[in-house]
């Protein structure tokens, strides 16, 4: 009996040297560790020690099979285990909120960040400073020489100092697409239609510029659009990650998908409780080669459905209300630089927006800027109105008839109709509207005794804003 007891005490785990117990516990997920704090006093103090926490994080983060990694969706804070998504037999989501301790600053900050629609942010661990940071983009409007321009202000929050601050030196006007990727201690965003990479260095909190050189990039893989019978949706979203086995995890339509770039095979992953998240519209369209195979009506109905969901999600109020408030907001801030002769028909009730490019003889704006402004405008209008742009009509000005515009329209499924060259008569509505602008501007300038060289400003700042805000459609 005594000998048996002896044997037991030698072989029991507490008699393993402490560093070997540590080695084993380091490989457990967080939930198990929190549970096992109550096994033994020595385990409690071990699991609580900062050194253990640090080593555990390091080991989990570098695990090649992504055993402890999960995907987080900001809508409702859902998270999915990555291993299960890639190779597991079934996946169930967990509610992420339970993982964050109650009232934690991170949770508050995430809530705060998620609220503004279309915001991009990265939540990262900064190894150099042993700190958690949130880097977010906040759209703001600035007045530049009388023109209202859209830029993004970058704010960074640090958990260690519990403070946020503005990082001023990012002056990019373009929207950055999707959520950032963390590589080598730098957060990377795509900008300008995947043409530029913006990198933010977490260590010295500065923007890196040299990524602008496209020649220095390496193409790692191409994702082929699958044949019709294999399609689960219309849109392939940016890939989440490439596994060590070379498989790519991405979202196709509303399905998680494992893609093998070697034989272009697609495996849809079944996810229990996965409802298509509305926030997928935040992501940029990565690559679409969709052709008009489906009945267009069906597509439109589908789009309407999708967008109705966003509207409801964006403001938590009924859709009509969203429409109204969005209109007001658009009237005062968005019509800063407008595209001449374009009209957007919005849905069945045909909402038209008159955009003035400010590129004609009586205006002086640069034609190169038109596309950027247009892209931002469309994104905003789509978000705010919860509808999508169906068609654009414009003349053949080089600010409209160019590669960028063509690409944008084909990617987003927008019809772009041109009037016949040198035939402004075909653009009757818009040309007449121009006359109205000019008349309005003249009327405003005369009594105010405004100098003639402020002609452009009058049209942009006043006439258009009035027109877009006026209740009557007659004008």
């Amino acid at each position: 009996m005594e000998s048996k007891e002896d044997e037991v005490s030698i072989l029991a785990m507490p008699n393993l040297p402490e560093d070997l117990i540590t080695e084993t516990l380091l490989r457990l997920p967080v939930k198990s560790l929190l549970k096992f704090r109550s096994v033994l006093k020595s385990w409690l103090s071990l699991i609580r020690s900062p050194e253990f926490v640090k080593n555990h994080l390091l080991l989990s983060a570098t695990n090649k099979d992504y055993k402890h990694h999960s995907l987080m969706f900001k809508n409702g804070f859902k998270d999915y285990s990555l291993t299960a998504l890639l190779y597991g037999s079934f996946v169930e989501y967990k509610k992420l909120l339970s993982y964050l301790s109650r009232g934690s600053v991170v949770e508050d900050y995430l809530n705060y960040l998620v609220e503004p629609v279309g915001l991009n942010f990265g939540f990262v661990y900064d190894e150099c400073q042993d700190d958690y940071k949130v880097v977010g983009f906040f759209p703001i409007v600035r007045d530049r020489d009388g023109y209202l321009i859209h830029i993004h202000e970058v704010k960074m929050y640090s958990l260690k100092s519990d403070s946020g601050r503005c990082i001023d030196d990012f002056q990019g006007r373009r929207l950055l697409d999707g959520s950032p990727k963390l590589v080598n201690g730098k957060l990377h965003w795509f900008g300008g239609g995947a043409k530029i990479i913006f990198a933010f260095d977490l260590a010295d909190e500065k923007w890196t510029k040299e990524y602008g050189i496209q020649q220095s990039w390496t193409k790692m893989f191409t994702i082929k659009f699958p044949p019709p019978q294999d399609r689960a949706g219309l849109i392939i979203y940016p890939p989440f990650l490439m596994s060590t086995k070379g498989d790519i995890l991405l979202q196709f339509g509303s399905h998680f998908t494992r893609y093998n770039p070697k034989d272009a095979s697609i495996r849809y992953r079944d996810v229990t409780n996965f409802t298509p998240c509305p926030e997928i519209r935040d992501c940029p369209v990565w690559e679409i080669e969709w052709k008009k195979e489906r009945d267009e009506k069906e597509l439109k109905a589908k789009r309407k459905e999708e967008h109705a969901m966003i509207a409801a999600w964006g403001s938590d109020s009924d859709k009509d209300k969203v429409d109204e408030t969005a209109l007001m907001a658009l009237g005062d801030s968005d019509l800063d630089e407008e595209d001449e002769d374009s009209e957007d028909k919005v849905k069945g009730n045909k909402r038209h927006w008159y955009l003035e490019s400010a590129c004609s003889r009586h205006m002086t704006a640069s034609k190169e800027d038109v596309f950027d402004v247009f892209e931002i405008f469309i994104k905003k209008i789509e978000k705010k109105l919860g509808t999508s742009l169906v068609s654009i009509r414009s003349d053949n000005g080089s600010e409209f008839e160019n590669v960028k515009f063509l690409k944008f329209c084909s990617i987003n499924g927008i019809d772009h109709n041109f009037s016949a060259p040198r035939t402004p008569q075909q653009n009757g509505v818009v040309e007449r509207k121009n006359r109205t602008f000019e008349d309005m501007a003249r009327t405003m300038m005369l009594p105010g005794n405004i100098a003639k060289n402020l002609w452009a400003e009058t049209i942009i700042c006043n006439a258009l804003i009035f027109l877009n805000q006026s209740a009557t459609r007659c004008l």
């Binding site: 785990m13 070997l20 084993t24 490989r27 198990s32 929190l34 109550s38 096994v39 033994l40 409690l44």
Partner: protein
């Protein structure tokens, strides 16, 4: 060939290519101390047989990925760690002593996987640990993160 001697005086002959996966023995060979028998006072023959079995199988690990034997090796690893707790701890200690990184990784991960979903009670019983926390202390830990103690995956069985 290198000769290894366990603590119960049994000698084993192992190919040098296999045995140099152990950092400790690799250093000894490089320093020229492995000319005769290497005594291993911390390892009994039963454990040593296990370790040698692992070393022989993993001789060509670098090439396995190219020849498509990766799955075969994975299956071997799964079978290999299919042993009792006592044996597993012995192998972990041996792997630590001999400094065989891959084996250490494999066994610790296996131990962690076995513990992962177990309830606190089951863990104590499996590892023959006597609880030294008071009831209040235990309750305090549970209150701190109650979600860690609930869930459908928690397993109260001992095996």
């Amino acid at each position: 060939m290198v000769k290894l001697k366990s603590n119960d005086d049994k000698e084993f002959e192992v190919e040098e290519a296999a045995v140099i996966q152990s950092e400790m023995i690799k250093n000894m060979i490089e320093d020229g101390c492995a000319t005769s028998v290497i005594p291993l006072p911390n390892i009994d023959s039963k454990t040593l047989i296990k370790v040698i079995e692992y070393l022989n199988k993993h001789i060509n690990m670098g090439k396995a990925a190219e020849t498509g034997e990766e799955d075969d090796l994975k299956e071997f690893d799964e079978q290999f760690v299919n042993m009792g707790w006592e044996e597993l701890f012995d192998v972990i200690m041996a792997a630590n002593y001999l400094n065989i990184h891959e084996l250490m990784e494999l066994c610790c991960q296996s131990a962690a996987d076995r513990l992962k979903n177990k309830s606190v009670r089951a863990v104590r019983e499996m590892l023959k640990i006597t609880n030294d926390l008071t009831e209040e202390e235990e309750q305090e830990i549970i209150n701190d993160a109650p979600w860690a103690f609930e869930g459908p995956e928690i397993d109260d069985t001992v095996n």
